[in-house]
């Protein structure tokens, strides 16, 4: 059994849901409710937990997560920037409603992806969904934004309106990059008697919040290195071998590690099968039996502690800058609600 693949019924259903949620085009889409189906656009119940509250990773964090942006913080900064952009546009007499942040959450809170870092870890979910995500994380809430006129784009972005994005499939190698935003010119100096801001209202919002857009890849890089290094550690190798042997005993032979089980258990349509659920449950039971997650995360924690010590000043700088941005965003949002 290489892949558990089956028919596309749920994809069709998911696609229908997408179409339903997307059909507010042409009207103001940014009400707090999705007009089409009554679902809220932003549903915090679907947001990932900062620290898992169930399964084998319950209460588990890795040291580097302290330097990563949580989803809640990411949404706060995005929303505060959008709010500022809208208010800036209004000052120029332009009514613009930007999409709400937080409408399409990820399955985990940050790049460490702790819930699935060592494969699946939540037995209750596995019993229902196998290796798939809960349905709420397989949906997409679409928020349409009206097309802006040339001058409106200039006020918003500080540059002229780019050509409509080319269908990526029509781009050929060796051709000029035809991605959005290419080939634009600086905006006009003023509109409605007011000087345009540097970088437009988007640039201004970033300035207000002190967003520096520091390299977000650095911490992800370290966390990736940590995982790769941990897989060469003797304790992890032994624990994975014990898990593999346990899986063999349950009739799933030939699985070298939990990632291979995931490869095998993922279905093509997001719908679990009896086979994928059985595999998923056995996978987690074997992790419990071999203490795999505790051993693996313990090894990673030691690796990350050393990474943090070796990169302390850069990481501290990232955390402080991030803290300032989130504080500014929360202050801005609080001011808006007063």
């Amino acid at each position: 059994m290489k892949h558990i693949k089956r028919t596309a019924t749920s994809v069709a259903l998911a696609a229908s849901a997408l179409l339903v949620s997307a059909c507010s085009s042409g009207t103001s889409p940014h009400t707090t409710q999705n007009a089409a189906d009554g679902r809220p656009i932003v549903n915090k119940e679907n947001w990932p937990k900062k620290i898992p509250t169930s399964g084998l990773t319950k209460g588990l964090t890795l040291p580097l997560e302290a330097y990563m942006a949580s989803y809640e913080d990411q949404v706060a900064v995005e929303q505060a920037a959008s709010d500022l952009q809208q208010s800036c546009m209004k000052d120029y007499g332009i009514d613009l409603t930007l999409p709400l942040a937080g409408a399409n959450p990820p399955p985990s809170d940050n790049d460490a992806n702790i819930e699935r870092r060592y494969g699946i870890t939540d037995r209750a979910e596995a019993e229902k969904y196998g290796y798939e995500l809960p349905p709420a994380l397989q949906e997409h809430t679409t928020q349409t934004m009206r097309d802006l006129s040339g001058v409106e784009v200039e006020v918003l972005t500080g540059h002229t309106k780019p050509e409509p994005p080319e269908n990526p499939k029509d781009v050929k190698a060796g051709e000029p990059l035809a991605a959005p935003g290419q080939g634009t010119k600086p905006a006009r100096a003023e509109y409605n008697g007011q000087k345009l801001k540097t970088g437009g209202c988007i640039g201004w919002s970033k300035e207000q919040l002190g967003l520096r857009e520091t390299d977000p890849t650095f911490v992800a890089q370290l966390a990736g290195d940590s995982l790769m290094q941990s897989m060469k550690d003797d304790k992890v190798i032994r624990a994975i071998a014990a898990w593999s042997s346990c899986m063999g005993g349950k009739g799933h032979s030939g699985l070298a590690d939990p990632y291979k089980a995931m490869d095998q258990g993922v279905t093509s349509d997001g719908n679990p099968t009896p086979e994928s659920i059985a595999l998923a449950v056995d996978d987690i039971d074997c992790k419990t039996q071999t203490d795999l997650v505790k051993i693996w995360s313990g090894v990673e924690s030691a690796i990350e502690d050393k990474q943090i010590a070796d990169n302390q000043s850069q990481l501290t700088g990232i955390r402080e800058q991030h803290g300032k941005e989130v504080a500014a965003a929360r202050k801005q949002m609080a001011a808006l609600t007063q």
């Binding site: 290489k2 693949k5 696609a15 985990s108 992806n113 397989q138 994005p165 991605a179 959005p180």
Partner: protein, 171 residues
């Protein structure tokens, strides 16, 4: 992805190779076909127009040089739980779509799972993450949205994900 209309294409654009049942393994039914697509929106049962998340075969310094794209790439819209591809039964015959790099640049026609080196997110409103394993497993990397009328920003995949890209999800 700009338009989620009811446009569902029957045939895939770009590179389409009928590879027959051989690639499907021993359990393949009597009728089976494998096609290669460069955009997951070209899969008939996935409803979208084109992808926002570009995954390039080359790393950033090689992929785009002097404003021109030199690397082949794959584009994805939405959650892709396995960069390997997808398959489904339509009636009694199973059809498989494998994701490959396209556009004629370096790496053109190669399978893209565990084979990408850089990424740009050209979405107006959707952030993405790319994952080490299928099923959104392992470590991950975040790619912020492009924003309205902005520039796409190409970024190298972190070392753990370079040639180890296996799934991607809204983020």
């Amino acid at each position: 992805m700009r338009v989620k209309s009811a446009r569902i294409k029957v045939a895939a654009a770009g590179t389409v190779l009928a590879a027959g049942a051989a690639l499907l393994g021993g359990a393949a039914p009597a009728q089976a076909a494998t096609n290669n697509v460069t955009d997951n929106c070209d899969v008939p049962w996935i409803s979208c127009s084109y992808g926002d998340l570009w995954l390039f075969y080359n790393s950033k310094s090689i992929a785009i040089q002097n404003g021109t794209i030199e690397s082949a790439y794959t584009t994805f819209y939405g959650d892709v739980d396995d960069h390997w591809g997808t398959s489904a039964y339509q009636g009694s015959s199973e059809t498989t779509y494998r994701y490959v790099f396209g556009n004629g640049g370096n790496g053109n026609g190669q399978y893209m799972k565990n084979n990408a080196a850089s990424v740009q997110n050209c979405a107006t409103d959707d952030n993405y993450r790319v994952y080490f394993n299928s099923g959104y497993g392992g470590t991950s990397q975040y790619f912020a949205k492009n924003g309205p009328y902005g520039d796409c920003d190409i970024t190298d995949l972190i070392s753990a994900l370079k040639n180890n890209n296996a799934s991607s999800h809204f983020s």
